[in-house]
């Protein structure tokens, strides 16, 4: 790892000032950033640690509105009793990320800001029509995830929380890479008052996306059987050493079926 200057931010305002120094990066759980720095894929001059800022912690559920502070760990999301009642699919998703030690450190804000094309949270936020709240503005998930490791965040902009309306039904199913546990395909299905939305992670050439074909079939009939014979085009999907685009296209339909079955269970 190259030399770096560490700063522990006391508040969001403090972090916003500190992140202006040099080529600084925001640090949350560090489960991607620290390994990237170790391999010198990332070499920030400064790190601004957000993980101890109180206002970024915790899950709030008020009626149907769920708000999760950016520095809330995957472990805390997975085990939050209020969230397990309001949106059990999201708590379940958090319990599938990485391994226990990673879940103890990694945070929802960090995952969303990094927008790894195989990360789990982006699929949930896109399907739930969530809002990403920063220290500057509110951004709809549909406009937030802009490409591989790319987001609408401006330099130095800090995610404060994510917020969404709890859906009537939802589920997440993930086909995991057996070594990394990242999604080869992950499908989040949500049925709310605005209809059915289905978001896919791990598969898109350009990161997380909504599957029109699956949404159209489920809008008519929210049942796993409605997806029999539905074909997802492979043209805009990834091919890598783990799976071909065609394999992923088939997996999307399979994972969507399982997710719908779980959501209806």
């Amino acid at each position: 790892m190259y030399s770096v200057n560490y700063h522990r931010a006391a508040s969001v305002a403090d972090a916003a000032k500190l992140v202006k120094s040099g080529d600084a990066k925001l640090l949350s759980g560090g489960m991607t950033l620290i390994p990237a720095m170790k391999t010198r894929l990332a070499a920030p001059s400064d790190l601004v640690d957000l993980s101890r800022i109180k206002e970024l912690q915790g899950v709030k559920v008020s009626g149907k509105t769920v708000t999760i502070g950016a520095a809330t760990t995957h472990y805390d999301v997975a085990n939050d009793e209020k969230l397990k009642k309001a949106c059990p699919a999201l708590a379940h998703l958090a319990s599938l990320i990485g391994d226990p030690a990673v879940r103890h450190k990694g945070t929802i804000g960090g995952s969303v800001a990094n927008n790894d094309p195989a990360a789990d949270y982006p699929a949930a936020l896109l399907a739930l029509g969530a809002t990403i709240i920063t220290n500057k503005r509110e951004i709809a998930a549909a406009k937030f995830f802009t490409g591989l490791f790319e987001t609408a965040l401006k330099d130095g902009e800090i995610i404060i929380a994510v917020s969404f309306t709890a859906p009537a039904k939802a589920a997440y199913e993930k086909f995991r890479n057996p070594a990394s546990r990242y999604a080869i395909v992950g499908v989040f299905v949500a049925k709310g008052k605005d209809g059915v939305s289905v978001a896919v992670t791990g598969a898109g050439d350009d990161g997380v996306f909504r599957s029109k074909e699956i949404e159209a079939a489920l809008a008519k009939n929210f049942a796993a059987s409605a997806l029999d014979g539905v074909k997802v085009p492979a043209k805009t999907l990834m091919t890598d050493l783990h799976a071909s685009a065609e394999y992923r296209a088939n997996l999307i339909a399979v994972m969507a079926k399982r997710a719908v079955a779980a959501a209806n269970a």
Binding site: N5, Y6, G30, K38, S51
Partner: protein, 166 residues
């Protein structure tokens, strides 16, 4: 450089470290606590697992300065003098190791796992919870056995304590 201070295995320690120093290197090189191992350097193997503020974390994926102010427990902090911790005793009894390189991380993960499942553990849960710890000798079979046995022993001990307290 930053000044850091921790409570490590019950003792207050402090020092000055380069900000880029990983927690595992601080433990091994500054404190001489070489029980915590560096296995893979890519955050996957779990040989470096320690407890920071009561939670199992990978000390190779955390800077020492990030942990400053925290309470840290390493494998050296588990035994009570010559008496092995129940998880250590169970690994010995059930032969939960061969070369032993992964063992400190396995045991720190296991103690955290048992603490998070006061209701008890089953084999499927233990195997799922060992996701972040890699052993290349044993095929995990005896590790799983040892953790299940330790979980039972510790449940008995804590029940006994509750009775005493009552």
């Amino acid at each position: 450089m930053s000044d850091v201070s921790f409570v490590v295995n019950g003792k207050r320690v402090s020092g000055a470290v380069e900000d880029r120093t990983l927690l595992v290197h601080f433990l091994r090189e500054n404190l001489g606590l070489t029980g915590t191992h560096v296995g893979c350097d890519t955050s996957q193997c779990g040989a470096c697992v320690v407890h920071v503020d009561g939670r199992a974390v990978k000390s190779c994926s955390m800077l020492a300065v990030q942990a400053s102010g925290s309470t840290v427990v390493t494998i050296e902090g588990l035994a009570n003098g010559a008496d092995l911790h129940p998880v250590q005793a169970a690994f010995k009894e059930h032969h939960g190791l061969q070369c032993g390189f992964c063992t400190p991380g396995m045991i720190m993960t296991a103690t955290d796992m048992i603490a998070r499942h006061p209701e008890g553990l089953d084999e499927a849960t233990v195997r799922a919870e060992l996701e972040g710890n890699i052993c290349r000798c044993t095929g995990y079979h005896n590790i799983v056995k040892a953790i299940l046995a330790a979980s039972k022993t510790m449940a008995k001990v804590s029940k006994g304590k509750v009775k005493q307290a009552a």
